[in-house]
């Protein structure tokens, strides 16, 4: 497993049988591959699908079935299609159990930034804000640092926040944090990493769960 797969695999273990899950672009799209046996989740795509299935085999693509990242997908038994207003009614109305999203940054209170970069023209917002307001739980999947090694978990976001609403869980390639009303709590460290590495690469404050675990 590469680090993206490791993140996806760890998120997948948080999902419960019957969950309605919206998985954003990037790492979240890998999550379905790792859902444990006996757990059935239903993937919602905000362009109007409930019941997204695996990516299609080459040569078996139906161009009229795409996900929110505009990639061809398939649908599973029990799937349905609906219009965009209905789809976002589901999201804002609290009918999505979990949204799994990427982020540019997360501050130490759990607020995420994932839609705009200062100094660049902001020409896209898409469905991220709706998901952050409406989904019952928000799981954030990120690499712990940027490509040039800067921490993504920061004291204060440099980028504009996507919502005042905080994430519930942050899963990086190094560690897992719960977001609580008192701030971030480190609950797990991946086996290949260490508390020292996590502390070094995290700018935002966090506390350590007394039952801190090593995870795979």
């Amino acid at each position: 497993m590469n680090h993206k797969q490791r993140i996806a695999s760890r998120v997948a273990r948080e999902l419960k049988d019957g969950d309605i899950v919206n998985a954003g672009i990037g790492i979240p799209t890998l999550v379905p591959d790792f859902i444990p046996d006996g757990v059935e989740v239903f993937l919602h795509s905000e362009n109007g699908i409930l019941g997204v299935g695996p990516f299609p085999e080459e040569g078996n693509i139906d161009e009229n079935i795409i996900n929110a990242g505009k990639k061809p997908v398939t649908v599973k038994e029990g799937a349905s299609y609906f219009d965009s207003a209905s789809s976002f009614g589901m999201i804002r109305g609290g009918h999505i159990d979990v949204a799994i999203l990427g982020a540019l940054e997360i501050d130490e209170t759990g607020r995420i930034a994932n839609w705009a970069v200062p100094g660049k023209p902001v020409l896209g917002v898409g469905g991220a804000m709706d998901l952050l307001e409406g989904a019952k739980k928000i799981f954030i999947t990120i690499t712990h640092t940027t490509k040039d090694g800067k921490p993504k978990i920061v004291k204060e976001n440099h980028y504009p926040v996507t919502s005042e609403r905080k994430a519930d869980l942050i899963i990086t390639d190094l560690a897992v944090f719960k977001v609580t009303s008192k701030g971030l709590v480190l609950t797990e460290i991946f086996a290949h990493s260490s508390l020292q590495e996590v502390e070094q690469k995290t700018e935002g404050a966090f506390t350590i769960d007394p039952s801190l675990k090593q995870t795979n």
């Binding site: 161009e63 023209p121 020409l123 898409g126």
Partner: protein, 222 residues
């Protein structure tokens, strides 16, 4: 009384300065034959309400390159570099909305709702200049309804009355746009007999649809 017209006639009903709604999420569910015919038309200063503004040289993307579009109102234009470029050259105005707020404001425009309140965007940069209201202890933003002069939508099938059904995820913004414009032109893959559509499966009842055009057999996929 027939609603079926040819694509040229349909495009001739659009005027410079019009506000258009254009269906689709990316190019899926986008009325590509109508947009292609618009490339040849002498149109300018269009305001386009659409989730995206096409892809480079495709769909609405071509009309942006032709500088027919004065303003884009939508949710995600980043995926077309030509749009980013036109914006940076001050050739294109942009009004950006969260995707759900966009869809809802179009629905509101078609349903006689003057405006509504959503939490989406509250406390963010998107709320700048927006009216805020507390409802049951939570912060909401006011959003006015959107309407257009012309809606160009894409459906799978129509009967001669103008009842529409859509195909898979190509439904997206089309049904709400069908309700929110003074003139609604639907591009369809085929015209079927009324009996082929059950009254329960019709997604867009015919009262919303003014004209039907059949997608050109020009190899374009929609």
């Amino acid at each position: 009384m027939t609603k079926i017209i040819d694509i040229e006639k349909a495009v001739s009903l659009i005027k410079s300065g019009d506000t258009l709604m254009v269906g689709g999420f990316g190019l899926v569910g986008c009325p590509l034959s109508l947009l292609e015919k618009m490339e040849e038309a002498d149109l300018k200063h269009l305001t386009v309400i659409s989730n995206n503004l096409g892809e480079p040289g495709k769909g609405l993307g071509k009309l942006v390159l032709q500088k027919k579009v004065k303003k884009g109102i939508g949710s995600y234009f980043t995926s077309n570099p030509d749009v980013v470029n036109a914006y940076q050259q001050n050739e294109l105005e942009i009004d950006l909305m969260p995707q759900g707020t966009l869809a809802e404001s179009i629905r509101a425009g078609g349903a006689g709702i003057g405006g509504f309140y959503v939490k989406t965007g509250a406390g963010t940069k998107m709320s700048e200049g927006k009216e805020v209201r507390e409802i049951k202890g939570e912060t909401y933003l006011f959003q006015e309804a959107l309407q257009a002069d012309v809606a160009l939508i894409k459906a799978k099938k129509a009967d001669r009355y103008g009842n529409l059904v859509y195909l898979k995820s190509a439904r997206n913004f089309n049904p709400v746009m069908a309700t929110a414009a003074s003139l609604v032109i639907a591009e369809v893959d085929e015209i079927v007999e009324p009996d082929d559509l059950s009254p329960e499966e019709i997604v867009t009842p015919h009262l919303y649809v003014d004209y039907l055009v059949v997608r050109g057999g020009d190899g374009n996929e929609s």
